[in-house]
């Protein structure tokens, strides 16, 4: 615990040190980023220790505010969520050091590092805190710190808008959490988690609590339709921040959900159904929206919604397994969902780094303006490819492992008797659809950005990024491969986590765990075979072609006279069949200036896919309510006589009411 506290202290200290040295961009970045890296390394030690069968650690001191106490504990669940926090934060700091150098001298970097470090620190506290006030404070600091990072480029109106939406959404989510914590500690003079007094709670109150939790935490996690802030905020932030936000910060919502629900004891059956419903809608709609995006970071942001949906599916399977007393299904669901948390941190962090690298050197995030970047930036390209394959859930990478566990849990659950089977089948179908769409989407993103010929001068200007940015990407890519190939080992860390998350006893978990993860051995075996085979075939091909005359020629142009880079298929056209097919959900807006006349000059075709929830739900609702309310503004019309009349009427009304 001392190490964790040390790490926290160091985070804050280095943040303020960075702020103080704001005058020198170099020192600011150094202090800020190395502070994060060092404290993450320090923090990893106890986290890993606890996960590796170590005892949970506690620390509690009183705190001079009402209802609060500085009560923190490091148990397996906390440690599990701390793992990606520390790893990705350290890498993001390293990456950011180079990435932010572009702004040196143009903008003060001190605040950026301060907020970055505070963001990391607040996430650590969120996972550790065992007191409602402490949790909420850390939660809000997390929001605020990330808000300031999102609006780093506040000279852009888009950034400001994104920041506002993010802040408001997060705050509304927090309002639900406030209610949640208050109700959990009903009648208690303290908000310590261990004093939550729940057995006495009637069933309907439990239902209310679950709803509050799912809305409050779901807003942060990005469950549809609470996700609207996500596609705005992630693209606006600097890339290392996007990667941290998407990779771990939104997972704090998942953490909160799992942690709070773990205090509720036996859960109603509909809870699992609800999560599966949320998971399906978030997963499918998230990936569909991603497919329709032209902005790389926006695309990645929607993929975060998708992956949160997958995690929710896993948890939903788990909770249904608990509700129907199917421990194996529960373990599989939870294991898949939780492992996906780490996996998503790895590959989404990697992808945002890659996106940042591309945007950094080309100056654009428009997928359709890029092309051919793989040759110009091989490191970025290859790592991005690994990330893309991983997020698409392809073997032998990590994304497949977690999705496999969820699938397997759903298959298991589907073939057990009980009404949960229907939900499980929905999970199977949904996951298959999500998988196909994600794979399509990343084929598009990777293919259009990195392959082919550069479509614009932006893309032609691409060059490899410095080592400071390459190394984090390479490490994360290695992580994706490592978790994929070391899956049986990777899931072992879950043994300690699952009792906390599921409420099942450790022996029960130990009983079903081997059966649950047994297939992973085969998967890893086949993955190894796959890689070996690919390598073998490559050698074979190499052997065959050596000595033969391999001709270089232009791409087969089907008889066109002069194929150019601009004739290449674009991302929009690539995705068009799918977006067209799902047009009902996407409501893509098309704008066509058709060529006309015998010698047409300018023609333009444009598609734009705004968020349907934002466009058709949130914005109109807000406008309606506002329009209704603004009629009441007549009240303040400026006429003194009537103002005095208000006083008289109020007085008379009170007299009539109270003196009857």
């Amino acid at each position: 615990m001392n190490l964790i506290l040390l790490s926290l202290g160091l985070l804050c200290l280095s943040g303020f040190a960075a702020l103080v040295t704001s005058a020198s961009p170099r020192w600011t970045s150094r202090l800020g980023s190395w502070g994060v890296i060092l404290s993450c390394v320090i923090g990893l030690v106890p986290a890993v220790k606890v996960l590796g069968d170590g005892p949970a650690q506690f620390f509690k001191i009183p705190w001079g505010i009402p209802l609060g106490s500085f009560d923190i504990a490091l148990d397996a669940l906390s440690a599990f969520f701390l793992l990606p926090v520390f790893v990705l934060s350290a890498l993001a700091a390293l990456y950011g050091q180079t990435y932010m150098a572009a702004w040196a001298g143009k903008k003060p970097l001190g605040p950026v590092w301060l907020f970055f470090n505070l963001l990391v620190a607040s996430m650590v506290v969120v996972t550790l805190s065992r007191n409602g006030i402490l949790f909420l404070m850390a939660w809000e600091i997390m929001t605020l710190a990330s808000f300031f990072l999102v609006t780093f480029e506040d000279e852009r109106a888009g950034s400001r808008r994104a920041g506002w939406i993010y802040l408001v959404a997060a705050h509304i989510g927090t309002a639900f959490l406030l209610a949640l914590f208050v109700m959990l500690s009903h009648g208690n003079p303290s908000l310590d988690f261990d004093r939550f007094n729940l057995p006495a709670m009637p069933e309907y109150v439990k239902g209310i609590l679950l709803i509050l939790a799912v809305i409050g935490f779901g807003t942060k996690a990005g469950f549809i339709p609470l996700h609207v802030w996500l596609p705005e905020a992630h693209p606006a932030a600097p890339s290392h921040v996007s990667s941290l936000m998407s990779g771990v910060m939104i997972k704090m919502g998942i953490y909160g959900l799992v942690r709070m629900v773990s205090y509720l004891g036996v859960l109603p059956v509909w809870w699992g159904w609800l999560l599966i419903g949320i998971g399906l809608s978030s997963g499918i709609l998230g990936v569909l929206f991603a497919l329709a995006q032209h902005d790389l970071k926006r695309l990645l942001a929607y993929h975060s919604v998708e992956n949160i949906g997958i995690i929710a599916l896993g948890l939903g399977v788990g909770y249904l397994g608990l509700a129907y007393q199917l421990p194996l299904v529960a373990v599989l669901g939870f294991a898949g969902g939780l492992l996906h948390v780490i996996n998503h941190a790895l590959f989404k962090g990697l992808l945002f780094f890659g996106a940042g690298a591309v945007a950094h050197v080309t100056g654009t995030r428009e997928i359709d303006s890029l092309g051919g970047c793989l040759k110009r930036m091989p490191w970025t390209g290859v790592t991005f490819l690994i990330g893309a394959a991983a997020i698409a859930g392809l073997p032998p990478l990590n994304g497949f492992v977690s999705e496999f566990l969820i699938y397997f849990g759903a298959f298991r659950g589907a073939s057990s008797d009980g009404s949960q089977a229907l939900a499980m089948l929905a999970v199977i179908g949904g996951l298959a659809l999500i998988g196909g769409l994600a794979s399509a989407c990343f084929a598009k993103a990777f293919g259009i950005i990195f392959l082919g010929e550069p479509r614009t001068d932006h893309a032609r200007a691409a060059h490899e990024v410095p080592y400071g940015m390459r190394i984090p990407m390479a490490l994360l890519a290695a992580g994706c491969v490592g978790v994929g190939l070391g899956a049986p080992l990777a899931v072992k860390i879950l043994i300690q986590v699952l009792p906390v998350a599921t409420g099942l006893s450790l022996p029960v978990i130990r009983g079903v765990f081997p059966e649950a993860v047994h297939p992973l051995n085969f998967i890893v075996l086949l993955s190894a075979v796959l890689i070996a085979l690919a390598f073998f075939i490559f050698l074979l091909r190499h052997a065959m072609l050596t000595g033969r005359h391999v001709q270089k020629a232009g791409t087969w142009d089907c008889g066109y006279a002069k194929p150019g880079a601009r004739m290449q298929y674009t991302a929009s056209s690539f995705a068009d069949p799918l977006t067209g097919f799902f047009g009902f959900f996407l409501r893509t807006r098309r704008h066509l200036d058709a060529p006309s006349g015998f010698f047409p000059k300018e023609a333009a075709f444009e598609t734009k896919t705004p968020d349907i929830f934002m466009e058709n739900l949130h914005r109109p609702a807000v406008e309606k309510i506002y329009a209704g309310l603004s009629k009441l503004r007549w009240f303040q019309h400026g006429r003194l006589q009537l103002y005095i009349l208000y006083i008289v009427i109020t007085l008379l009304a009170l007299l009539v009411w109270k003196m009857r």
Partner: protein, 224 residues
Amino acid sequence: MQELTEIVMVFLILANLWLLASSRLMVCIRIVACQGIVISLLPFLINRHLLLTEFLAVAGVTAALKGFVFPWLLRRAMREAKVRREIETSVPYSVSVLIGILILAISLWISSRLPMPKPELTELIVPVSFFTILVGLFVIVSRVMALSQVLGYLVFENGIYAFGVALLLEQPLWVELGILLDVFVAVFVMGIMIFHISREFDNINTDQLSELADWNSPEKEGRR
């Protein structure tokens, strides 16, 4: 003595109604002044044994303020602001009188709901003071000119004084004096403000004093 008190009460009621019916500003000021003098002498009508020097002093000061100083302040403001002699109202005078009678009914109802623990107060004094208070408020609400609002405030104040006159006697003197001082300063400051309003706007109609608002009426929109 009962009869005398009741006569005074009837006078107050009539004065209020007259105030509502009158369109002449000077007349109104005089009515309010008379009302103030009568009310300041009210304690002696209610309780004869109070002819002590200190109470006499208070009553004297009150009468002087209400009967002479305030009217003088108002007239001065009128002169300096070059106010028109006619009162402008948003409610016609005839309707005002009708509403006045309605207010009288309401006052009687309210006072019937509030039994006085002190029987020595006459029956009429409570409803009459309520009536005066409400008439004062009605004048503030219905009259357009800033000056008549001050007038309304004075009537309102008179009503409260009439109500409290008997009760305040039990309270320490200088509380009463403090209250009087406040009222005096209030009227004084209001007078100054009226002067400034007239200088700024060329008249003292409060219609123009409705620019600070969070809602734009159609006519205001049209003006812009």
